[in-house]
């Protein structure tokens, strides 16, 4: 009796045949299909934006990796550089860069004559297509090799940023109408030199390896030295934030009593992770520079400030990975008579290590890309320094950092710097992508299941 009624009731409620969907099922299926479509659309929008971003960065930044060079045979005439002819280095050093300008002018005159080029420009104006660093480059060479005086040596000079821009399509004859630093005749001359193979656009390693240059010489600016600055900052961040962060997390997670004091600490650490980085910058300025009198613009100070910023990230991720280790492992260790510390260091920490490492790398990547705190401790600005020659110099001598350098270039007037800013972003992104990939690989590789 009961069986019969139980069987007949659902038949009317769910519709006659399973082969036909009822209205309710159709509605649910449509809702699901719509939701999937929204999801796919969201991912498509995200991907499209990423593509636009990458395309934009690469197309604008790739120009920074090539540079226009002019190859000239320069006669290092003894009468100009070493009048007495005794090769006394002190006397040679007395000739300033102005004294070298005529040599370059002569070299242009010779090149024009030899190549049969026709130009109405005076040699001085011909030399105007070169970078302002050209005479200094020549002088440096002569001081390093005084025995070459009297000989004719082949040099590769950087072309002026306008000329470089002309070859890259950034500068046109129209755009230079009001430009005093270059004339249409000079551009004609550039065309002739390019045709003769004297002037060429080639790969420029100095952009990756070199140091920043003043406003007048964007063609010789490079990101190398600020890369070293970033490296030293990351060393400081790693050396401080990893041990401090891991020790703090282990104590809080495994040893500290659970009471209102540890609750307050926990809440505050989470809050610290959300504090705007510029706040850490002004804290660094007040404490490390004004109070402790550490040097301005030094990677040491930058590293200390970024450590403050990275610590909450590392503590949070370390605590999360410690929490993820099942309590049964701790019980097992305690059950065979391990002390609390042995249980943590022999069993829990090794299992949490991949998570800790991943969190540290992500924290470092964040710190690497941070600009705002560096503004306040003087790491942004024109800091033309040479690559440091020792660890102490690397930590204490003024330097910039990659994102700070990019910001600095982006705000300078000359569009040639703008191109370098994009070029710098490519390098920064390569670093960040590499670090994040490393984090993912480590996590995949050492992830344990139990």
């Amino acid at each position: 009796m009961t069986d019969l009624s139980a069987n007949s009731a659902p038949a009317t409620r769910h519709g006659a045949s399973l082969l036909k969907q009822n209205a309710r099922t159709r509605r649910r299926n449509r809702a699901e299909a719509r939701f999937r479509a929204y999801g796919i659309a969201a991912i498509a929008v995200g991907l499209a934006m990423l593509l636009v971003l990458v395309f934009n960065i690469v197309s604008k930044g790739v120009g920074a990796y090539s540079q226009t060079f002019v190859t000239l045979e320069v006669e290092l005439s003894e009468s100009k550089l070493d009048k007495k002819g005794n090769r006394d280095i002190e006397e040679i050093k007395k000739v300033s860069t102005f004294g070298y300008a005529p040599l370059i002018n002569n070299a242009f005159a010779a090149a024009v004559k030899e190549g049969g080029l026709e130009t109405r420009l005076k040699p001085k104006d011909q030399a105007g297509i070169l970078s302002k660093s050209a005479p200094a480059q020549l002088r440096d060479y002569v001081i390093a090799n005084p025995d070459k005086i009297g000989e004719t040596v082949s040099f590769r000079f950087l072309a002026n940023s306008r000329v470089d821009g002309y070859l890259k399509g950034r500068v046109t004859r129209d755009s230079i109408a009001n430009d005093k630093s270059i004339s249409a005749e000079q551009l004609d001359f550039v065309d002739q030199l390019a045709a003769a193979g004297i002037l060429k656009k080639t790969f420029n390693p100095d952009f990756v390896l070199g140091s920043d240059a003043s406003d007048q010489r964007p063609e010789s600016a490079g990101i190398g030295v600020s890369m070293v600055g970033s490296l030293f900052m990351m060393l400081v961040v790693l050396a401080l934030s990893l041990p401090i962060g891991v020790a703090a997390s282990i104590y809080l997670e495994e040893f500290a009593p659970k009471n209102w004091i540890t609750d307050i600490i926990e809440v505050n650490i989470s809050n610290l992770a959300a504090v705007p980085s510029i706040v850490f910058g002004i804290l660094g300025l007040a404490v490390f520079i004004n109070y402790m009198h550490l040097p301005m613009s030094a990677p040491l100070v930058g590293g200390l400030v970024l450590t403050l910023m990275t610590l909450p990230t590392i503590i949070i991720s370390t605590r999360a990975s410690l929490k993820a280790v099942p309590p049964s492992i701790r019980d097992a260790a305690l059950g065979v008579g391990a002390s609390k510390m042995q249980a943590v260091f022999h069993h829990v920490l090794p299992l949490a290590a991949p998570g800790i490492l991943t969190g540290t790398i992500i924290g470092l990547a964040q710190a690497l890309g941070e600009t705002a705190p560096l503004l306040l401790i003087g790491m942004v600005g024109f800091i033309a320094s040479n690559p440091p020659d020792s660890l102490a110099a690397g930590l204490l001598s003024p330097n910039s950092a990659m994102p700070a350098q990019i910001y600095e270039w982006a705000k300078r007037a000359d569009p040639a710097f703008y191109e370098r800013a994009w070029g710098g972003i490519i390098i920064l992104l390569v670093f960040l992508v590499t670090m994040n990939t490393l984090a993912v690989i480590l996590r995949r590789r050492f992830e344990r299941r139990w």
């Binding site: 492992i329 701790r330 019980d331 059950g335 065979v336 008579g337 002390s339 344990r448």
Partner: protein, 265 residues
């Protein structure tokens, strides 16, 4: 074999290994264990039975101070191991746990090799002076854990790669490698199939030759099979404690009878 053990049971009921008097456990405001008095005898298997949440595991964890790791737990009363109060301020729980080993409900081998799992206890307690001695201890423990023949060729394989029953026997081997005097087992067979359960039960019976074994179990048949003494817990009270045969055949308390006949639980 069985007759032999029955004989032993009668002979050795007088040596008390652990003596627990007026034991109370509080979890915060909750009074989880109330006025429990239990004696754990030497070379005897004592079973704790009772419905879920009756406090038998909690009481078990008092015997090697595993409850110390729970911040809100508070233990009162007297727990004596060979006449010494294990909750005395001078007692280091680490030394206590070397004497009172524990096997948990879920097999929890370390994610390390089989060898390292067993060798861990002897290593941290300094029981072996060299590699050869350690090898010997590991082999002995695995033999007594009835696992040696199955794993002797792959001691370097991860302990987590064994089957559930093997993992539990590995955990037992790990616990006995430190030569404890009392072995606490918290539902050691609840995650195992009947065959593995039979192996572990056989093992418990053998372990009785050398240790006091205390086992918490949900299975009345298991308690009847492996134990000589049984304690029935209900709602934090020790209802009845006595010879296993007497508890199962002729319980004094009506609650015990209801439980073993399946009317409460």
């Amino acid at each position: 074999m069985n007759d032999m053990s029955r004989l032993e049971r009668v002979v050795e009921t007088k040596n008390i290994k652990m003596e627990c008097r007026d034991c109370q456990v509080y979890y915060g405001e909750t009074h989880a264990i109330k006025d429990v008095n239990v004696d754990i005898e030497e070379k005897t298997v004592t079973a704790f039975i009772g419905p879920s949440g009756c406090g038998k595991s909690t009481f078990l964890r008092c015997l090697n101070r595993m409850n110390d790791t729970i911040a809100t737990a508070r233990v009162e009363g007297s727990f004596r191991l060979d006449g010494e109060d294990i909750y005395d301020r001078r007692v280091d729980p680490v030394q206590l746990r070397a004497k009172v080993g524990m096997v948990f409900q879920k097999p929890n081998p370390f994610p390390k090799s089989i060898y390292d799992n067993v060798a861990y206890g002897p290593r941290i307690h300094g029981l072996a002076r060299n590699k050869a001695e350690l090898d010997e201890i590991v082999e002995k423990a695995l033999r007594r854990g009835a696992l040696w023949n199955e794993v002797k060729d792959r001691l370097d394989a991860p302990g987590t790669g064994l089957s559930g029953g093997q993992q539990q026997r590995l955990c037992i081997a790990r616990a006995i490698a430190t030569e404890p005097e009392v072995l606490l087992m918290d539902e050691p067979c609840s995650a195992l199939d009947p065959i593995a359960t039979a192996q572990v039960e056989e093992l418990i019976d053998e372990l009785r030759q050398n240790y006091s074994v205390v086992i918490v179990t949900h299975s009345m048949q298991q308690a009847a099979r492996v134990s000589q003494k049984t304690a029935f817990f209900h709602l934090g009270n020790l209802v009845e404690f006595g010879e296993t045969g007497q508890i199962f055949t002729n319980p004094v308390d009506p609650r015990t009878e209801s439980y073993i006949t399946g009317r409460i639980g």
